[in-house]
Subunit: 436 residues, 2 copies
């Protein structure tokens, strides 16, 4: 006779619908797999009349959140409304009522996770947040459990499906950002206000969560240098391809002797690397541990059913523990054991750089640019100068050897100030991904 | 004050050494991450004097297995000697003494898993076997926990590092099997007797384990059609590349209306697919679930530290549960709830085929071959006939449209019997991997 664990969902939108569908339609499969009967007791939203394309028992629909909070038989509270408030307040209330919490809320967990985890420890409940990163890809479980024997050298990845979809189409079609974005909005891949996705903010949220788990440090998205893809030009994607590189919006958390190097920005990576092959709206996580070596996990990072799959996985873990009477068997929440962040300032990071200069087609320009780079101790690995088109300016593309970010920025400032330039330099950071 | 869980390792070879090193050197990290202190109490082997390149307290070394079995304080018994016997007997004894078991033994788990899991259920202990498949890649955890909300359409992958190393070098260098194998043996990538790895047997063991978990059926390696890579020729790898395909030793478990399609064989897959990019000794698992869609997990499938990482992950899961006093919180072992296997006979499987015929260079050969294929309802998608080299025979390569295995075998038998042929036909199955 399987024990019953009761679940209430707050938020009957996309992910709430997927989660409810799985809990209702796969109830018998889940019972067989876990030995626990998981009963969906409530679906709560402000407007609960919407049909979601599958059958929902009318009696579990409610607009009254207090029903969930005060029902002593409810074990797991699933927050799927997103955003900081009122989600934060509702989750804290649920914890204070002794409910376990499952959430897909990356904005909240990345910024207020410590507060929530500490409150959960205080009340002896747990918080599952697998769905906050990577949609259906169980990357949080991998970091916390499957690879828990490792010290991590680096955690990297393509963590935003919208940005990757846009970049993939820009790469494949040679199209510009604005036109692909419009098409992505029309097709439902991008929101009306795409800022979170295309400016790297969503990616930084996810990287903050993974950094906390992998490196055991206190970190928020504000600690991460973040740059989006909205200013990328097709010409740079094309030059990159000619040089054997693909541009991806890469999230990077890397352990260095001088602290954690935390960055989100468009990055040129070798086209033959697995990460470069991650197309459309897919995500990929590249984890480098001292014992396991390189691990890559790939899948859909968003969407109703993939994210619902991750929410239900968290529910199952908690349900097994609740049913066994031992919530302390679940992985610990990262709260009071976190170390302060030792961050490596982005200016001190060294790497290789792609630089494109728009120079007037006049004698001596190349010599001046090369001279300024040399003064800043930046050595050039290769130069591509294409013949002039129908404009006054010519693009000069240079790949540098290893150089320090601060030197590169200083040099570019000086070059941009030259009177022979037709526009500001474009710089894209490169990652060879070979040192792991 | 962290609770202490005691571990004993049987088998101080490659993986035993890696596991011991992690438990000894990462003890504090593991304690921080799990809240449980994991003490390595015994390392047992017949010859225990070997040094393993790291410091081992002398008092934990023993040659007496009974010390582990009869110590009432020992919680977890780690079997790392491999092979069926005496590993099976030792594991059953450990279970009967109330010990939890962790093992990396794919041969044993794939053939005697049901017996072991049933015994473990009877004695209220658990058996961890993450390290039996995929080395450090937490694919078993993903199937059982992270993706547990899914019905699986298919589980596929490159599951043997030795075979993939050899195939990758044959592909990149145009070298033949025998010479790459010799080199792989010299470099330590292949064993003196490579049969298990190159003939697909090891891959079938792993596929049997994953099939049991993903589809909940009773299955052994004998249920899996298995063909290795030892008869592959560089010429077929080269033709495949020209046609846009890469040959991999692919394990396939696929749910069909007519039962589970279970196969291990060299397979032509599109060169742009992620699985085709998996090189060297890496493994990759391609899981297709109804909710999550496509998930790929990639990493080193063997080796001292990657496999040690997986063994320790299992130890950590069990240690958390033991420490919480609730082993029933761990995922259930697949034992009495398994359904009988409904297997789809390989002869009834449909797919596309690559066929290479060695024909005498005489008029009418192509017409005869095409005629026999047509009689067997096999239609041809494309033909490549290369000019003759310095031999009497010419290779004719054909890609078929969708055809049934039985028809293809019947046609090839008839073609091989033709007097105008200079050798038997070579056939390689194709997977477009696009229908998921």
């Amino acid at each position: 006779m399987a024990k019953t664990v009761q679940v209430g969902i707050l938020g009957f939108g996309t992910v709430g619908g997927g989660t409810a569908k799985l809990l209702l339609e796969q109830r018998e499969l889940l019972r067989q797999r876990t030995g626990v009967d998981i009963k969906l007791s409530y679906i709560c939203d402000r407007n609960i009349s919407d049909s979601r394309g599958f059958s929902v028992p009318n009696e579990i629909l409610t607009t009254d959140l207090n029903q969930l909070l005060t029902d002593p038989d409810l074990d797991i509270f699933v927050e799927l409304i997103g955003g900081i408030e009122p989600a934060r307040t509702f989750i804290l209330k649920a914890i204070q009522h002794g409910k376990h919490v499952v959430t897909a809320n990356k904005a909240l967990i990345s910024t207020h996770g410590d507060e929530i985890f500490a409150e959960a420890e205080k009340y002896g409940v747990t918080v599952g947040f697998e769905a906050s990163v990577g949609g259906g890809v169980p990357v949080i479980k991998a970091l916390r459990e499957g690879l828990a024997a490792n010290n991590f050298h680096a955690v990297m990845g393509i963590m935003n499906g919208t940005a990757n979809y846009i970049l993939s189409r820009m790469t494949d079609e040679g199209a510009d950002f604005e036109s692909v974005l419009k098409d992505a909005q029309r097709l439902g891949y991008a929101e009306a206000d795409p800022t979170y996705d295309v400016e790297g903010i969503d990616t930084a949220h996810k990287l903050a969560i993974l950094t906390k788990l992998a490196f055991g440090v206190r970190v928020t998205p504000d600690d991460i240098y973040t740059e989006g893809i909205s200013r990328l030009s097709p010409i740079d994607i094309q030059f990159a391809a000619e040089l054997g590189y693909t541009i991806k919006l890469l999230a990077i958390a890397r352990s260095t002797d001088a602290g954690l190097d935390l960055r989100v920005h468009p990055t040129m990576i070798p086209s033959e690397h697995l990460l470069a092959q991650v197309k459309e709206a897919y995500n990929a996580f590249y984890l480098i541990g001292d014992a396991v070596g390189k691990v890559l996990m790939y899948g859909l990072g968003a969407g109703r059913m993939p994210t619902g799959s991750a929410v239900v996985a968290d529910i199952l873990d908690i349900a097994r523990a609740v049913s066994a009477g031992a919530v302390s068997s679940l992985p610990r929440l990262p709260a009071h054991s976190l170390a302060p962040l030792q961050k490596r300032p982005v200016e001190t990071v060294s790497g290789r750089y792609y630089c494109r200069f728009s120079a007037m087609d006049r004698p001596g320009v190349l010599a001046r640019i090369a001279g300024i780079l040399a003064e800043n101790h930046i050595s050039i690995a290769s130069v591509v100068q294409k013949g002039r088109g129908d404009t006054e300016s010519v693009p000069i593309v240079m790949l540098t050897h290893e150089a320090e970010e601060a030197s590169v920025q200083r040099a570019l400032g000086a070059i941009d100030a030259m009177d022979m330039m037709a526009g500001n330099a474009v710089v894209i950071r490169m990652e060879d991904l070979s040192s792991y």
